[in-house]
């Protein structure tokens, strides 16, 4: 390289930087023009998710990569689970058709970025509601669709009866979840020694635990029940009684779009209220002309709740229950005692039945 060519190279590189600096001051000011390029292009946008969802004709729903009972694909690629049915319920509210949903399986790691970038409209992915996520990450939790807590699973032949006996153990779990932090807190607080082995996907955690790489498997107790069905001999394992954390799992939307947040929040409230009012997919059509004002508001024959939410149909809640069911029905088909997970209602029963499920009234 000669000096001449170096000089030419310098000119070639310095000129554009001068140009660019000049244009930068220009580009930064009319930032709104840039905003449209990023947020809108991804399908997100603020205050207009509902409009965009209506335009494209379906809801893009972020779910897990496969957690039985919550969101799990079968051999034919059909999704099922409590989170999946929640997405269906939102579609029933918006379109009157629960099938107008497309599912995006997301890893724990990418889920929030996918939501924020507008790749998905709604995240129903067994996600724990925490302060940091709600406040600092630009997310909005709209409620709780499953009250969970973190637990431990061990092999029966170890003869362990309590989590406090777990000193000096190797613990398998997923990366990028609150689970990892809760386990660290539990062992530190109780002065127990442990080694954490963190995998990216749940399937690998199960495989490693099954191969005795770890003595303990920790995740949400619903997750333990679900993953246990994938083990070679589910009966050889047991879940310890201690619950070491609060894990309120709920649907999440982007912060800053209150209208869309309201639609999702009231879909959840409608599911719970329907169970409380005794409305099921089987009986709701006969209740359409009920005299009970509570029921009349619910099915949309009285009041204008649908249009207030920005929906086309005042019978949005009716559509949810008729086409998907109430919370109790969904629970029984996905995670309830008659499913392989076999989880009793516990904290997830209605407040009238000894649980903590309580939805604000629809009025």
């Amino acid at each position: 390289m000669t000096f001449k060519s170096i000089g030419r190279g310098l000119i070639a590189f310095s000129l554009p930087i001068v140009f660019a600096l000049g244009t930068l001051s220009f580009t930064l000011n009319p930032a709104s023009a840039l905003g449209g390029f990023g947020g809108g292009g991804g399908g997100g946008g603020y205050g207009k998710t509902l409009e965009e969802v209506k335009d494209k004709g379906y809801i893009q729903c972020g779910v897990s990569q496969g957690l039985p009972g919550f969101s799990n694909p079968d051999d034919a690629g059909n999704w099922s689970g409590i989170d999946v049915e929640f997405c269906n319920a939102v579609a029933a509210a918006v379109f009157g058709d629960p099938t107008k949903v497309q599912f995006s399986p997301l890893s724990a790691k990418v889920r929030f970025e996918s939501l924020r970038s507008g790749e998905v409209d709604l995240l129903a992915r067994n996600t724990t509601w925490t302060f940091d996520r709600d406040v600092a990450l630009g997310l909005e939790f709209v409620g709780v669709n499953y009250y969970d807590g973190q637990g431990f699973m061990v092999r029966r032949n170890l003869g362990v009866n309590s989590a406090f006996e777990l000193n000096n153990v190797s613990v398998c779990t997923n990366t990028g979840t609150t689970t990892e932090l809760n386990a660290a807190d539990f062992f530190r607080a109780n002065k127990l020694k442990y080694k954490i082995v963190a995998f990216e996907k749940a399937d690998e955690v199960v495989a490693a635990y099954d191969a005795e790489r770890c003595d303990v498997y920790t995740t949400d107790r619903s997750g333990l029940a679900a993953q246990r069905t994938k083990l070679a001999n589910p009966r050889e394992h047991k879940v310890l009684p201690e619950i070491i954390s609060k894990e309120p799992l709920g649907p999440v939307v982007r912060q800053g779009d209150e209208q869309w947040a309201d639609v999702v929040r009231w879909t959840l409230n409608a599911l719970i209220n329907a169970e409380e009012m005794g409305l099921t997919s089987a009986n709701i059509s006969s209740q359409k002309n009920s005299d009970n004002p509570k029921v009349r508001r619910f099915v949309g024959t009285e009041g204008e709740f649908g249009t207030a939410l920005g929906l086309d149909d005042n019978a949005w809640a009716y559509n949810i229950v008729e086409k998907v069911g109430n919370y109790g029905e969904i629970y029984e088909r996905t995670v309830g005692p008659k499913t392989p997970l076999g989880l009793s209602r516990g904290a997830n029963a209605l407040w009238t039945n000894g649980g903590i499920l309580y939805a604000p009234p629809l009025r």
Partner: protein, 386 residues
Amino acid sequence: MRALWASSKGRGIIYQVLLSTGLVFLILLLVANAFYNMEQRGLKAGFGFLDRSAGFGIVQSLISYDETSSYGRAFVVGLLNTVLIASIGIVLATFLGFMIGIMRLSPNWLVSKLANIYIETFRNIPLLLQILFWYVAVLKPLPAPLDLFKKGESFLLSFNNRGLVFATPVPQASFSLVLWSLFFAVVVSIGWVLYTRWRQKTKGSQLPVGLPCFSLILGLPLAIFFLLGSPLDFTSPVMGRFTYDGGTTVVIEFFALLWALVIYTAAFIAEIVRAGIQGIPYGQSEAAYSLGLKRGQTLKLVTIPQALRIIIPPLTSQYLNLTKNSSLAAAIAYPDLVSVFAGTALNQTGRAIEIMFLTLSVYLSLSLLTSLVMNVYQSHTRLIDR
């Protein structure tokens, strides 16, 4: 301006200016857009979070680390684990690759075919599948610590499904003498090598190098070690109720990942080595034989130095590939940079942009560093035009 346009060089400058302006503008647009969108979501950019305490545990760490350490320290732990697997992987893959590559050229039909089958098999299966396969293949047959030891039993060394576990050596004060004797032996060996070279140049006669140097470097420190009465203590791992406690563990995931990366990369290196050697005309060897050089000498002095010129550039890119592929570690829980920092730390802090920026910068720097070292080495071996 017109004069500038008239010459082909001038037009070249204009094109370059336009292209780089566009490029810089595009980058600035992306950056400004990212900042704008973050601001819209109420997110603040910055690296302040690196000082916050991380709160999660890491299964293997080359420096001291616990849950109260900062995210910054977790970053270093992940980085060191990545460097560890990449550097050991590069050395082993080079050895295995050269061996297979030379086997591939063997006149023996069986040896050459075996090498061929090896190359074709491992080159053509996706690496992630191989990693998962080897992980399970390594994990399944190995016994759990509970099957090996009774409670309270201590042991010096064990390879079980938790990893390679050995008693941690704790040197006593006089151990430094052993290290000094090792240093001395290395210096003397280098002196001996230089002397034999000088002697061969001036007098033409050869003296043995390998055996005396090897026995000096190994023998002298060992002799001093035993003369001093083994000045090294060990803290042994002791079996507890579930698993052992104490000692030093190299996690099993390290071996599974290393094995997979080495096997996979060696298949590519073998082909590069074969191509390099076949790229040297056979006349070169014939000329060497006719000068009276033996087969080994011909390989060492004539064929390989020339073949290296062909081998090194593609070999460099295999080294880079191995380093980058080590980021698949997250699949099998080896705590590398991507798993610890771009995985757990990213999720706990939600600082996607900052963390991905740091992680990308690390891989870029590692790659540029490897390229630099290999380029310097290549400039030593390249043909000098006269």
